[in-house]
């Protein structure tokens, strides 16, 4: 349904691209609108959630490869619904930000963009592990093309690095999936890749640990957590703006989603044992990335490092594994998706106008483009966690939840609240205030850009002021996930 | 193998003796001629005989590809005939089934031969001879083959 629509749209976009260069972007908009309309149905379902037996709704089930008990099995709960919504919203953003940037081979570009979104939506909905893996890979390939064809100067290197990192780690995951299935088969005699079946697999602690590690690495690479993050700054920097938006806004979330959905519920004990390490990774990641961000002179790179930093929070949140922390992680995901997307879009806009991403070459922009600068300031503040905006809620909840679990690490992570203003404001300082280095006329936002960023501003504020709506949607899902893990 | 190993060995022993005698005789003949023959040296003797004309060029000339082709054909066909030898001596045991198989084998062999024939690989005529005969038959396709 949702995925098919996107994928179909992708193909249509490609064909239209062959036919007329301007058409694909309109196709993309239409497809995304339809998608958004479709999303209304699940939200209706959420309202009646109390009456449902489980947190899941919207099943879609077709046997796929019966030989291995692989099924084409999609389902949705509040958590995935939120992320899908985010995906669709950012889809709009990405299309919008690519509107003028992508000049050549539009058909193929939108094909890749929409395929990528389709894969991501699939990831958020897949309940069969094989299917999950399938979509997991599916979203990487178009992204690879996005970076390698429409990216900036070092695109080849960045694309290949991105691809190999994610591929190798996902092969580890595949290995873990397969091993899990085989263990499950030993116990029950049937092949099954179904999430629900596998939840009940009894594992020896040792096996559980290794399998957990397989999943964990795959997801933390994608997330990315500290030792595996090096692909991200490159990929983000080199990707076209639309690609960066998707990458930072949505794709990183798939890693978090995977952690939350699979790692902890499937291997609760192992995850519990591993939690200190994971949280330490998260905390160090938070700090390290913040410091690195401070040291960057490239605007997109800086934003990329802030992403790494925020993802650290999510890692901490997931592995703290209590209600507050999980909800915090969810909010952080959404909020970061919005703010990072917005920042990347701004970076793209700046680059388009200034032909540079070097912060040092900017300077004094406020006086030239005040509107743009104001919005930038807004998102920079959002990103550093200004109370009243989405990120603050998320981080706060995470820290609150984590504090009960591991004080030292939480305290360390909290340090970032000190550090993040440094880089965010440093960026503002260098890039927007100060003496104006260029005096030529720079156009401000046009209407399309205003609309897009306005939407993002609105979401961000809304997340910050009334997080309860979101929390309500995801609460049942979190609840059931925690139940599973504790069983 | 009907005869036992021992008899075979004995027979072979006689063969070896016979062979030795023959070889010895050859050596004696050559050695005798070497010892008895006269010797002399002269310049013209040391040149290759080319019907009285002074030899020109190296004797190791490049020769027609036909000879190589023939060597290859021989190797193949001779090998194939080995199978026929085996069939011939075991004709009775192989029976009609064996006959059919051999017939197929020979059929393929003949087809291959026909193929070689038709593509002109067995044509040893010189170019001029071929053209002459073509003119006579006024069919030109055959000439173009090889």
């Amino acid at each position: 349904m949702l995925i098919c629509l996107l994928q179909l749209g992708a193909f249509i976009a490609w064909f239209f691209g062959c036919w007329r260069p301007g058409a694909p972007r309109w196709v993309a908009i239409v497809v995304l609108t339809l998608e958004a309309l479709l999303l209304i149905f699940p939200y209706r379902a959420v309202e009646s959630i109390g009456s449902l037996p489980s947190a899941w709704f919207g099943y879609f089930y077709v046997p796929w490869i019966p030989r291995f008990g692989i099924e084409f099995y999609l389902a949705m709960d509040g958590f995935s619904l939120l992320l899908i919504t985010l995906t669709v919203v950012l889809g709009f953003i990405a299309v919008s930000s690519s509107w003028a940037e992508i000049k050549h081979r539009q058909g193929f570009f939108y094909f890749n963009l929409l395929s990528c979104l389709a894969g991501t939506v699939g990831v958020f909905m897949a309940i069969d592990l094989f299917l999950f893996f399938f979509f997991w890979e599916l979203m990487i390939i178009p992204m690879y093309f996005l970076i390698s064809i429409w990216g900036h100067e070092d695109r080849t290197y960045a694309a290949i690095k991105f691809f190999i990192f994610t591929q190798v780690s996902s092969l580890l995951m595949l290995l873990a999936i397969v091993a899990l299935v085989l263990i499950h088969r030993e116990a029950t005699g049937v092949y099954s890749f179904g999430y629900f079946e596998l939840l009940n697999t009894g594992l020896s602690p040792e096996a559980a640990f290794w399998l957990m590690l397989g999943f964990f690495i795959a997801f933390t690479v994608k997330l990315p957590a500290l030792p595996f993050h090096t692909w991200l700054p490159d990929a983000h920097t080199q990707a076209p703006t639309g690609g960066s938006v998707i990458l930072a806004g949505v794709m990183l979330k798939t890693g978090a989603y995977g952690l939350l959905r699979f790692v902890v519920p499937l291997f609760p004990d192992a995850a519990h044992q591993f939690a200190p390490v994971a949280m330490a990774m998260g905390a160090i990641g938070v700090l390290y990335a913040a410091v690195m961000a401070f040291a960057q002179s490239d605007l997109k790179r800086l934003i990329a490092y802030t992403s790494v930093s925020h993802m650290g929070f999510i890692l901490i949140g997931v592995f703290s594994w209590n209600g507050a922390a999980l909800q915090g992680a969810v909010i952080t995901m959404l909020a970061h998706g919005v703010s990072a997307a917005a920042l990347f879009m701004i970076a793209g806009i700046l680059q388009k106008r200034l032909h540079t991403r070097e912060i040092g070459n900017m300077g004094g922009l406020w006086s030239v483009v005040p509107g743009l600068s104001a919005v930038t300031l807004f998102f920079a503040l959002a990103s550093l966690g200004l109370p009243g905006l989405g990120n603050f809620i998320g981080e706060f909840l995470v820290l609150q939840g984590a504090f009960g679990v591991n004080r030292i690490l939480t305290a360390a992570a909290a340090l970032v609240l000190v550090l993040s203003p440094l880089y965010a404001l440093g960026m503002m300082q260098k890039g927007f205030y100060g003496p104006c280095s260029r005096h030529d006329f720079l156009p401000g936002f046009n209407r399309r850009e205003w609309a897009t960023l306005g939407l993002l501003v609105f979401i961000s504020v809304w997340l910050g002021l009334s997080p309860q709506a979101v929390l309500n949607v995801s609460a049942p899902a979190m609840q059931s996930a925690m139940e599973v893990a504790e069983r | 193998m009907q005869s036992s190993e021992a008899i075979l060995a004995n027979d072979l022993f006689q063969l070896i003796i016979y062979f030795c005698v023959v070889t010895a005789m050859t050596v004696v003949m050559l050695g005798g001629a070497y010892l008895l023959g006269q010797r002399h040296r002269s310049k013209t003797v040391d040149e290759p005989f080319e019907s009285g004309i002074v030899a020109a060029g190296d004797a190791h000339i490049r020769f027609s590809v036909q000879f190589y082709l023939l060597a290859i054909f021989f190797v193949i066909f001779d090998m194939e005939s080995v199978f026929l030898f085996a069939w011939a001596v075991a004709l009775q045991e192989a029976g009609w089934l064996g006959f059919i198989e051999a017939a197929v084998f020979i059929g393929v062999l003949l087809t291959a031969l026909m193929y070689l024939w038709l593509i002109g690989a067995l044509d040893w005529r010189t170019c001029r001879q071929r053209i002459d005969s073509c003119n006579r038959r006024s069919t030109e396709e055959r000439c173009i083959g090889l």
Binding site: P63, W64, I65, P66, R67, F68, R105, F130, F133, F134, E137, L138, I141, Y144, F145, S148, I149, T156, A159, I160, F163, I164, Q167, V168, L171, L172, L174, L175, V178, A179, V181, L182 | L97, V108, T111, A112, M114, Y115, W117, L118, I119
Partner: protein
């Protein structure tokens, strides 16, 4: 020999008959189209014969050959591959000078050899099939006599293949000397009757494996591969990579299963080392290549390594998983490799072989469809989802994980990571902006149709492999009981 046995051999008979028909055809009227047409009809006939033989299996068609579902499945695979290669050859050679009429004939004999291999249960037929295949290949590789590289490749392949055949023969002779059996089943009986492994038999088996390793280009024996792939005409390279290696692998599997050689732990260890070396070495060396055919050669070495992993896994799993992953992976590999070489052959012109990486620059914008197909093929080789290669790799993962070969799996993963790099490199090059002028291409409709079919297969089986899996499953259950 009764009528059933005769019928069972019909596919092979049809092939042989077609070869003769082609020969007569050439002799009567030299015409490339005619030769190709007869050969194609013959292969199709043979495939049809396969279908009609299917219900009656298994038949011990002669003392040397067992026509069972296993054999039929692989013969069908080999024949289909042969048909595809024939199509590519047609387009590749039709504009070239020289006498190309014998090419289909040689393809047929090579296919015949490969089919015999797939069905053989006896060392004699094994050997005959292998040599029929190899000798046809020598000529096929060196077919463009006016190209120095092709000649060089042919003589190299001839010598190394000859040496490997000699190894193989010596190995068989040693086994025979010790066991007095040339039947695979008989050897199983011999092995089963002994507790200890005789040194001579063991060295014999090792020699046989070395010989097969040559043909499969596993790593200590891989030296010929890159040169031969580079020198041979592109469709023929594809043929070597698929039919030749596939047939040998099929035989290896049958040999192992029916002689129960899995009991030999040392042998499996040797194989494990070879597999790991092939995967890592093949991928590493491929990284350095700038020639697409060479690159594909190294990648084929690596793929044989993957295949071997699945094969070794059979040693520790007593389920049908012995055969299934191999079957699926082979099929995936066939589709993909033929497709990849098909693209190369379509791009090649009589003036130049399209094997330099620089040639592919900007292909995406010059010939988008072809580039897209090539991209899909490469992604499938890399084992990316949506393609059949992914399902194949998944199968291998499952098989190997089932067999508990964690070390080898690690090699597979590392190898895949390395592999991605060079496959992507080609894709990147193809997507670069091209400043080169457009070169004139002949429109090879046959190749294009074939490539499209292959691509559809690749994607279809990549997304919905169930049908094939079911077939393979039935083959595995019935065939290797």
């Amino acid at each position: 020999m009764n009528i059933n046995q005769f019928i069972a051999l019909a596919p092979l008979t049809a092939l042989a008959g077609t070869a003769i028909a082609v020969m007569i055809g050439i002799a009567a009227w030299r015409n490339f189209v005619l030769s190709c047409a007869i050969a194609a009809v013959g292969i199709v006939l043979s495939l049809a014969a396969l279908g009609s033989v299917w219900p009656g299996t298994p038949v011990q068609a002669s003392p040397l050959m067992l026509i069972d579902v296993y054999a039929l499945f692989y013969i069908a695979l080999l024949l289909s591959a042969g048909l595809a290669v024939l199509g590519f050859c047609y387009d590749y050679f039709k504009d070239r000078d020289g006498e190309n009429e014998e090419l289909p004939l040689l393809l047929l004999t090579a296919l015949l050899g490969a089919s015999v291999l797939a069905a053989s249960t006896h060392f004699a037929s094994f050997f005959i099939g292998l040599e029929l295949l190899s000798i046809s290949l020598f000529v096929l590789i060196g077919y463009p006599l006016n190209q120095a590289q092709a000649l060089e490749a042919a003589i190299k392949y001839l010598i190394l293949s000859g040496v490997s055949s000699a190894f193989l023969l010596m190995g068989i002779a040693l086994i025979y000397a010790q066991s007095g059996e040339l039947y695979f089943r008989g050897i199983e009986g011999y092995i089963a009757s002994r507790d200890d492994i005789n040194a001579m038999v063991f060295s014999g088996v090792l020699l046989v494996m070395a010989g097969l390793g040559f043909k499969l280009s596993l790593i200590p024996f891989h030296l010929w591969t890159p040169d031969v792939y580079q020198g041979a005409p592109a469709p023929i390279s594809g043929f070597i990579a698929t039919v030749s290696k596939g047939a040998v692998f099929v035989l290896l599997l049958r040999y192992f299963v029916s002689t129960d050689s899995y009991a030999y732990t040392p042998l499996l260890n040797v194989f494990s080392v070879m597999a790991a070396l092939s995967i890592l070495g093949g991928n590493l060396l491929a990284l350095l290549q700038n020639n697409v055919k060479r690159l594909l050669a190294y990648s084929s070495i690596a793929h044989m390594g993957y295949l071997l992993v699945a094969f070794i896994a059979g040693g520790s799993v007593s389920s049908v998983l012995i055969v299934e992953p191999v079957a699926f992976y082979l099929l995936a590999y066939f589709i993909t490799t033929i497709g990849a070489f098909g693209v190369v052959s379509v791009l090649s012109s009589p003036q130049a072989e399209a094997d330099d990486l620089a040639f592919y620059r900007g292909l995406f914008w010059r010939r988008p469809w072809l580039a897209a197909i090539f991209t899909l093929m490469l992604l499938s080789l890399a084992g990316i989802p949506l393609t059949v290669g992914f399902i194949g790799k998944f199968y291998i993962f499952t098989g190997a994980a089932d067999g508990g070969l964690w070390g080898l799996l690690l090699a597979v993963i590392v190898g895949s990571g390395l592999g991605l790099y060079y496959y992507l490199r080609i894709i990147v090059v193809m997507s670069m902006d091209a400043e080169t002028v457009k070169t004139g291409f002949t429109q090879d409709w046959l190749s294009n149709v074939l490539l499209t079919v292959l691509t559809i297969l690749l994607v279809w089986l990549g997304i919905y492999p169930s049908l094939l899996v079911n077939i393979i499953q039935s083959v595995s259950y019935d065939g290797m009981a």
